[in-house]
């Protein structure tokens, strides 16, 4: 039985350029998983960008030393496929009867296809949004789960004018993504436009009812003597029966190390 809570998937990833892989996502997560960081696969930086993975593996120089950025192929010249990458790792998770598990991506740039044990799911466009996939039904309880993510760059990576300039040719502004990546007066262009799984990946195990996005607000009266804490949550019942819930809220403060006031 899995413990309730979140487990980060921030290590053990491998990556490969999509054009170097002739297998489908289904094959990668069923019959033909990568054996490890052997070519064309390499150790991946997750969270991080495709360029961070290439730098880690010394396939490109560190763009922030000297003029090394000039020697890295820009996406405008290389094409979007050049910076479209597979990411792969395995994880183990054994659930009990009424438990559920979500696969969470706190942000990707720019969109992706996720394959878990041969099942395909889509992470839609947008650099600044969370994705949460209920993968309970496709999990393997007694063996490793195979996870592959194909990450695509922004739709409008743009081109960098010879003279540089603020936001390059401004194409990146058409997407919901960081705009500095085409270069600015303080920054050279980022060659992969920050494509990648750039924020936390995790799995979270819950029982039948899940807490979603609590909201805490305080209101103040009588010169800050009277204060009220307002708390709102969303709850999702994933079971097929009525869930009788006890909701607890507790506010504590640590007076000194190891001693809490409730």
């Amino acid at each position: 039985m899995a413990e309730i809570g979140k487990t980060k998937l921030d290590s053990g990833w491998v990556a490969a350029r999509s054009t170097d892989i002739q297998l489908t996502g289904t094959q990668l997560t069923t019959t033909h998983p990568p054996a490890g960081p052997t070519s064309p696969w390499m150790e991946a930086v997750v969270p991080g960008t495709v360029l961070a993975t290439l730098v880690k593996n010394k396939l490109v120089p560190d763009p922030f030393y000297g003029l090394e950025n000039e020697s890295i192929l820009d996406i405008a010249d290389a094409g979007r496929e050049y910076y479209t990458f597979w990411f792969f790792r395995t994880f183990h998770c054994k659930l009990s009867g009424n438990q559920h598990v979500d696969l969470n991506f706190r942000a990707i740039n720019y969109y992706a296809e996720v394959y878990l044990n041969g099942h395909k799911m889509v992470l839609p466009e947008g650099m600044f949004r969370r994705h949460s996939l209920d993968v309970t039904d496709v999990l393997h309880p007694d063996k490793q789960n195979l996870l592959a993510v194909l990450v695509h760059p922004p739709n409008h990576p743009g081109t960098i004018p010879p003279e540089g300039g603020q936001g390059g040719d401004h194409e990146i502004g058409k997407d919901i993504a960081a705009q500095y990546v085409e270069g600015w007066d303080w920054m050279a262009p980022i060659r992969d436009r920050n494509t990648g799984i750039w924020d936390e990946v995790s799995i979270s195990v819950t029982g039948p009812v899940k807490i979603i996005d609590p909201h805490l607000v305080a209101s103040f009266f009588d010169n800050y003597k009277r204060v009220y804490l307002h708390s709102t949550i969303e709850l999702e019942n994933r079971s097929s029966w009525v869930a009788d819930c006890a909701l607890n809220i507790q506010v504590s403060t640590e007076l000194e190390e190891g001693i809490c006031l409730v």
């Binding site: 949004r129 401004h170 039948p208 103040f220 708390s231 709850l235 607890n248 403060t253």
Partner: protein
């Protein structure tokens, strides 16, 4: 009184919103920006137990009691801030991101943000051409007392100016922009350091986006009287 249990039945496959009865505090320790006092943080934990199944989910978050107000000063055109009723002279730094390859470790955030505090700053402005910063960034701003001015992803140079002239109507998909904005607000809204949302850098977003952001981010009617444009005209607390 700071420990409360409520009972609720939820229908099969339903998603519901629930508000706890408010918790009362008498003179709680307030959260102050760097240089004005301590950054007192309480821990709020919420759990849900399902009858017959035990604990189903839990959540916790550091919480700082603070009230941040700001308005544009007619005399100077500048924005004036008050925290917990006290005027604050803003000493701010501009911020894009911690690393151009987005290797955004906690260690790196801690060093960078502590450095800002050590420089006697009390605000960091997250520029609209960069990131909506991550919860770990805000964790350290909460701890070190850096107020955060967080901009959404609009810049003049990619949305209306430049050579060639960029698209003045912002990103192509306005609904996607708003979806990302709403999700980002939900990700970050409980941090006491979060002081101000701004539509973009040096300009307002396209009209429909701007109006939607202003509407979504207006004060709750329990907290303020609003005019027909959703602007606060009287603070009821």
């Amino acid at each position: 009184e700071h420990l409360q249990t409520q009972h609720l039945s939820i229908s099969p496959s339903a998603r519901v919103q629930y508000s706890f009865p408010e918790l009362f505090f008498y003179k709680p320790n307030l959260w102050w920006p760097n240089g004005m006092g301590k950054q007192s943080l309480y821990n709020v934990s919420i759990t849900v137990d399902v009858k017959g199944h035990g604990e189903s989910d839990s959540w916790s978050h550091p919480f700082g009691f603070r009230k941040i107000e700001s308005h544009i000063d007619n005399a100077t055109g500048g924005r004036l801030f008050k925290v917990n009723g006290q005027p604050i002279f803003i000493r701010g730094g501009n911020w894009i991101l911690s690393d151009g390859l987005l290797r955004l470790s906690k260690k790196r955030y801690k060093a960078d943000i502590k450095f800002h505090a050590d420089m006697n700053f009390n605000m960091i402005r997250c520029w609209g051409g960069g990131l909506a910063e991550r919860p770990e960034f805000y964790d350290y701003c909460d701890i070190y007392g850096l107020l955060v001015w967080q901009e959404f992803w609009i810049t003049g140079d990619c949305d209306g100016r430049g050579i060639p002239v960029s698209n003045p109507d912002g990103p192509l998909d306005h609904q996607l922009f708003l979806l990302c904005a709403r999700d980002t607000v939900k990700l970050l809204r409980n941090h006491p350091s979060l002081a101000l949302w701004v539509g973009g850098n040096e300009q307002t977003p396209p009209h429909d986006i701007n109006m939607a952001l202003k509407y979504d981010l207006r004060l709750h009617p329990d907290f303020a009287k609003l005019d027909e444009n959703g602007q606060s005209i009287e603070d009821l607390s």
